[in-house]
C-alpha cells in the first residue's frame, strides 16, 4: 500500500529457530527482491524485519503495528506454530498477505485456514507422511515414539502413527517426555527395551538434537535401531556432527546440494550468511518471489486479490518444480526423504544428506478435502 | 475466673533434641502482683516465656491462664486473651511514628483489621487513646517521631505503651532493663510499678536491685528447674540461690 510494497519478515531472531530462520530468512527475502529488480509496478519494494521471540503475543503485537501503522503488505516466514496461528486471522482481518515458510502446523491450511494465508514450504503432515511412510517402505516397520509432551508433539506422533500403520508398520509404544528435557537417557532406555526398529522423534529443536546425541552415546544406533527425525533441519545436523547423526532419516523440502540451481542459490546465500540455507530460508526466497509476481500480475497489493492471483500461477524456481498454491493456501510441492551420511561418505562440511526417495506432493500433503478448511468448497 | 492465681503451669517441660531446657516447672503467678523469674544464664527463663506465650510448644505439661488451658492455643490468641509479652531485644516498629506504633495495638479490638477496603482514616478515632498512653510513659514530646530514631530507653518505654494499649491483664517482660543505663533503669522501673497497679506482671531480670525493689514474689530457675521461690529477702538468703546465682562477693 502507499507508494511502496512493504515486506515484513517476522521470525525468531534470537532463540531456538534463529539459525534456521532469523537473519537468513531476511537475507533470502533480500535476494528475492534483488532478483525481482527492486520495484514492482513502479513501486519500490522494502523489507523490514523483527523478532517475535517465538511468543504469540509479541508476534501479534508487532504484526498489528506493522499493518496498522507501517503499511506492511505481506508478512513472511513466521516460524513457531503458535505465532503463525495467532497471526493468520489478524492478517486476514487487515486484508494483507501471509506467506508462511517457517511454521510446521498443518492447521494453518486446515482448521485455522484463512483466505490470505499461503503455507509455503512444509507442514507436519508432510513430515509425518514423508518420514513415516517412506521409512516403513524402506523396511522400518516397527516403531517406538519419543514424543514431546505438548500439542505439537502429540500431533506429530498421531499423524506419523497413522501413516506407519497405514503402510503396514506397527507401533510398539511411545513415551511422552516433557518439553525442553535435557536428559533423554531414561526415555532412550525405554525405547531400546522396546526393540523397535525405528525410534521416531516426535519432538523439535533442542529436544531432537539432544535425543539424537544421547542415542548415539547409549549405542542405540550402533545396536541396530534407527532414528527417524520428524522435524530436523540441516543446521541441526551441522550442530550434531555426522559422527552422532549418521543414519538418521528425515524429510525435507530442500537440500542445498540437490542440483546446480540449488547449489547456485546456496552459494549466493552463503556469501551473505556464511552458512548453507535451511529449507525455510530457501522457501522464503520462493514465497517472496511468487508474491511479487502476483502483485505484478494482479496490479494491486490488496491481500485477497494477490492471494487469488498466487493461487492461479504455477510455481517454478530453484527449489520448487511445478508447484502450485492450493485453494486452502497449501503449496503443493515435492518433498524428499533423506538419510544422513556416515562420516566416511561425506566430502566436507555441509555434505550431509543422501537422497532416499522423492515424495510427490500429492502423496506428501493432506488431500484438500480432509483438512476441514472452512472456505474450501466440495 | 477470679481465682487467686492468674497463671499456673503444671509440670511444664521443654526438650530441645534431647536437651531439657525446662523441666517440670510448676509456676503460680498471683493476680495483681509483680512476679520475677530469675536464675543463671541458660536456666530457661526466656524459654519459659516463649512457652507461656506459645512461641514455643511445650514437650509436656499444661499452662492454665485464668483457669483456662492454653497449652495448645496460638500465640496470637494468647495475646488476645490478655497475656502480652515484651522481648529481650527491643521490639518497636522502627519506621512507624510513635503514635502509629501504639495505634497498631489499639486498632485490633476494632475488628476491622482485615478490612482492606476501608480507609485508614477510620483509625483516627484512636488517636486520643494513643496520646493518653504515650503521655503515661512520658513520650508526649516524641508523639510524631519515628520510633527507630528514639534512644534505647525511650524505645522500651514505647514498647510498654504499645503493650498497655492492648489493656493486658498480664504482662510478661523479658529483661526490660537489659543494657540500660542507671537513669533509664529507674524511669522504667517506676513506670512498671505504676502500670502494674491493676495488672499482673511476670518479669525476667538480672538486675537484682530492680528485682528487690519491684517484685513481690521471686522464682529462681536453675537448669530448667525451680530452685527456690518466695519474697526477695527469703530467696536472696537461700544458700542454694547464693551459690548458683548471686555469688558471695556481691557487686
Amino acid at each position: 500500500s502507499g507508494d511502496v510494497v512493504k515486506i515484513g519478515v517476522l521470525n525468531d531472531q534470537s532463540s531456538l529457530y534463529a539459525d534456521i530462520t532469523g537473519q537468513g530468512s531476511v537475507a533470502a527475502a533480500r535476494l528475492a527482491v534483488e532478483d525481482f529488480g527492486g520495484t514492482v509496478n513502479g513501486k519500490k519494494i522494502e523489507i523490514i524485519f523483527a523478532d517475535h521471540q517465538n511468543k504469540p503475543d509479541v508476534g501479534s503485537n508487532i504484526a498489528r503495528q506493522w499493518m496498522d501503522r507501517d503499511g506492511v503488505d505481506v508478512i513472511v516466514d513466521v516460524p513457531t506454530s503458535s505465532v503463525a496461528l495467532a497471526l493468520a486471522p489478524l492478517i486476514k482481518e487487515k486484508n494483507k498477505v501471509f506467506v508462511n515458510s517457517g511454521a510446521a502446523t498443518s492447521d494453518l491450511t486446515g482448521k485455522a485456514c484463512q483466505p490470505t494465508t499461503v503455507h509455503w514450504t512444509y507442514d507436519t503432515i508432510a513430515l509425518s507422511k514423508g518420514t513415516g511412510g517412506a521409512v516403513v517402505k524402506a523396511g522400518g516397520d516397527t516403531w517406538f515414539f519419543l514424543t514431546s509432551d505438548y500439542a505439537f508433539g502429540h500431533a506429530l506422533e498421531r499423524d506419523t502413527s497413522n501413516v506407519v500403520t497405514a503402510s503396514g508398520g506397527k507401533i510398539l509404544g511411545q513415551v511422552r517426555h516433557p518439553l525442553n528435557t535435557s536428559d533423554f537417557s531414561s526415555f532412550l532406555l525405554q525405547a531400546q527395551a522396546s526393540k523397535a526398529k525405528i525410534i521416531g522423534l516426535a519432538n523439535a529443536g533442542g529436544d531432537t538434537i539432544n535425543s539424537i546425541k544421547q542415542a548415539s552415546e547409549f549405542g542405540i544406533v550402533a545396536g541396530g535401531q534407527k532414528l527417524a527425525g520428524l522435524l530436523v533441519f540441516v543446521n541441526d545436523i551441522h550442530a550434531l556432527g555426522l559422527q552422532t547423526a549418521q543414519g538418521l532419516q528425515l524429510t525435507s523440502a530442500f537440500y542445498w546440494d540437490q542440483n546446480d540451481e540449488t547449489r547456485a542459490f546456496a552459494k549466493r546465500f552463503e556469501a551473505v550468511m556464511k552458512k548453507k540455507p535451511s529449507m525455510i530460508q530457501a522457501g522464503v526466497y520462493g514465497g517472496v518471489t511468487h508474491y511479487l509476481k502476483a502483485v505484478k500480475e494482479a496490479n494491486t497489493d490488496e491481500g485477497d486479490k494477490v492471494v487469488a492471483q498466487m493461487k492461479k500461477m504455477p510455481i517454478n524456481d530453484f527449489m520448487t518444480k511445478n508447484g502450485s498454491v492450493r485453494e486452502d493456501g497449501r503449496v503443493n510441492r515435492q518433498m524428499y526423504l533423506f538419510e544422513v551420511k556416515k562420516p566416511g561418505e561425506s566430502k566436507g562440511p555441509w555434505d550431509y544428506y543422501k537422497l532416499v526417495r522423492a515424495i510427490p506432493g500429492e502423496e506428501a500433503f493432506r488431500p484438500l478435502k480432509d483438512g476441514g478448511c472452512s472456505f474450501v468448497k466440495g | 475466673m477470679a481465682g487467686e492465681f492468674i497463671l499456673e503451669t503444671r509440670d511444664l517441660t521443654k526438650e530441645f533434641k534431647g536437651f531439657v531446657a525446662v523441666r517440670q516447672v510448676n509456676l503460680k503467678v498471683r493476680r495483681h502482683t509483680i512476679h520475677a523469674l530469675i536464675g543463671p544464664n541458660g536456666a530457661g527463663k526466656t524459654t519459659v516465656f516463649n512457652l507461656l506465650t506459645r512461641f514455643l510448644t511445650p514437650s509436656a505439661g499444661t499452662i492454665l491462664y485464668n483457669g483456662r488451658d492454653i497449652t495448645h492455643a496460638k500465640p496470637a490468641s494468647v495475646a488476645r486473651g490478655g497475656m502480652v509479652r515484651s522481648f529481650q531485644i527491643s521490639a518497636v516498629f522502627p519506621h512507624l511514628s510513635v503514635r502509629e506504633n501504639v495505634r497498631v495495638a489499639l486498632q485490633r479490638p476494632l475488628g476491622t483489621s482485615f478490612h482492606f477496603w476501608r480507609s485508614e482514616r477510620s483509625l483516627e478515632g484512636l488517636h486520643e487513646r494513643a496520646d493518653e498512653l504515650i503521655e503515661a510513659v512520658g513520650l508526649s514530646e516524641f508523639r510524631t517521631a519515628i520510633a527507630g530514631e528514639l534512644p534505647y530507653g525511650r524505645k522500651r518505654a514505647l514498647e510498654i505503651a504499645t503493650t498497655l494499649a492492648l489493656d493486658p491483664e498480664m504482662m510478661l517482660l523479658d529483661e526490660p532493663m537489659a543494657g540500660m543505663g542507671g537513669e533509664d533503669i529507674s524511669r522504667i522501673a517506676t513506670l512498671i510499678e505504676k502500670v502494674a497497679k491493676d495488672r499482673t506482671v511476670l518479669m525476667v531480670e538480672h538486675n537484682l536491685s530492680v528485682v528487690a525493689w519491684l517484685c513481690n514474689t521471686i522464682t529462681v530457675l536453675q537448669r530448667g528447674e525451680v530452685l527456690a521461690e518466695g519474697p526477695y529477702e527469703q530467696v536472696s538468703k537461700d544458700p542454694a540461690v547464693v551459690e548458683a546465682y548471686i555469688g558471695t562477693g556481691h557487686v
Binding site: Q53, P56, D57, S81, S82, Y150 | F93, F114
Partner: protein, 315 residues
C-alpha cells in the same frame, strides 16, 4: 490521598484518557495490563516485603481461564475477566499458603518453584493448547453493549479496569489492613505478640495481589485475543520484578512508570533480537547497583517531602 498524590493521579488519568488519540492503542493497552500486573506485584513486595518470583502463575493462568471461558463457553468478557480474577485468587491461596511460611530468599524461591508447576501444567494440559496457546479469542461486547472489537472500546475498558485496580491497591495500602501489613513487615514477632495472626494477613495480601494479577492477565488475553505460555513462564515473573524495580519498589506510581518504560523498550528493541534480553539484564544490574529506589523512588527522594521515599523491599 494527600494532595501531591491526588494531583499526580489526576494527571495520570488525564494523560491516559487522551493517550489513544496520539499513541497506538494496542501498545497502550499492553502498558496498562502490565502496569496493573506490576501494581499487584508491588502490593506484595513493596508493602509486605515479600518478593514473589512466581507471579506469572497468576497472571498467565488467569489469562488462560479468561480466554478459554470466553472462547469455548461463550462467556461475556466481564465474566471471563471475573473468572480470571477468581483463578488468580484461588491459585494465590494455594501457593500463598505454602509460601508465606518462609521469608526473603526462601519465599522467592518457593514461589518460583511452585509457579513452575503451573507452567508445566499449562504446557501439558489439553485445554490450554500447549505451545499454541488459546488463539483467536473473541473480545465480545462488554455488558452486551460496548463493542470491544473497536480499539477505543477495548482501550477504555482496559483503562477503567486498570484505574479500579490501581485505586484498590492504594486503598489496601491505606487501610486498617494496610497498617497491620506495615507492622508485620517492620517486626513480625512483635505483631504476633500484639495478637495478630500474621500469616492470615500475609495470606490475604498474597491472595489480593494474585487476584489483581489475575485481572491483569485476563484482560491481557482479551486485548491480544490470545493466551499463551509466555505469560506463565518464569521469565514473565522476572519481567514484572524488573518493571517494579525500575519504577520504584514500594511507591504507588512506580510500577506504572516501570511498566511503561519496559514495555516501550521492548517495543522499540524488538528488532534487535537477543539484545532485548541483554539490555533488560543491563537495566537490572544498573538498577540494583546504582538506582535501587527506581525512577519514582528517586524522584520522590529528591523532590518529595522528607520521609516520602520508600524504604525499599524486604526486611
Amino acid at each position: 490521598m494527600d494532595r501531591g498524590t491526588r494531583i499526580t493521579f489526576l494527571a495520570m488519568v488525564a494523560l491516559l484518557v487522551a493517550a489513544p488519540y496520539v499513541l497506538y492503542p494496542v501498545f497502550l493497552m499492553k502498558v496498562l495490563c502490565f502496569a496493573l500486573f506490576a501494581c499487584a506485584f508491588n502490593l506484595l513486595v513493596g508493602y509486605v516485603g515479600l518478593l514473589s518470583f512466581g507471579h506469572a502463575a497468576f497472571f498467565g493462568s488467569a489469562g488462560y481461564v479468561t480466554a478459554y471461558t470466553v472462547k469455548m463457553w461463550g462467556l461475556p468478557p466481564e465474566l471471563g475477566i471475573l473468572l480470571g480474577a477468581v483463578t488468580g485468587a484461588a491459585l494465590g491461596l494455594v501457593i500463598g499458603w505454602l509460601a508465606i511460611r518462609r521469608q526473603g530468599i526462601y519465599f522467592a524461591m518457593i514461589t518460583l518453584a511452585l509457579s513452575q508447576i503451573v507452567f508445566f501444567y499449562a504446557v501439558q494440559a489439553p485445554w490450554t493448547g500447549g505451545e499454541d496457546g488459546i488463539q483467536s479469542v473473541p473480545r465480545g461486547h462488554l455488558f452486551g453493549v460496548v463493542d470491544l472489537q473497536r480499539p477505543l472500546g477495548m482501550y477504555y475498558t482496559v483503562l477503567a479496569l486498570f484505574l479500579a485496580g490501581f485505586l484498590l491497591v492504594y486503598r489496601i495500602i491505606h487501610s486498617p489492613f494496610g497498617q497491620v501489613l506495615k507492622a508485620i513487615r517492620e517486626n513480625e514477632p512483635r505483631t504476633v505478640s500484639l495478637g495478630y495472626e500474621t500469616d492470615r494477613y500475609k495470606l490475604l495480601a498474597f491472595v489480593l495481589s494474585a487476584m489483581l494479577a489475575g485481572v491483569a492477565g485476563g484482560t491481557k488475553s482479551l486485548v491480544f485475543q490470545l493466551a499463551s505460555l509466555t505469560d506463565v513462564q518464569w521469565q514473565m515473573s522476572g519481567e514484572v520484578v524488573l518493571m517494579t524495580l525500575v519504577g520504584g519498589l514500594g511507591t504507588i506510581f512506580g510500577p506504572v512508570v516501570g511498566a511503561a518504560v519496559i514495555v516501550t523498550m521492548q517495543n522499540y528493541l524488538a528488532e534487535f533480537g537477543s539484545w532485548v534480553t541483554i539490555i533488560q539484564g543491563f537495566i537490572f544490574v544498573v538498577c540494583v547497583l546504582t538506582f535501587r529506589r527506581g525512577i519514582v523512588g528517586e524522584i520522590m527522594g529528591r523532590f518529595g517531602p522528607k520521609g516520602a521515599a520508600p524504604t525499599g523491599g524486604g526486611h
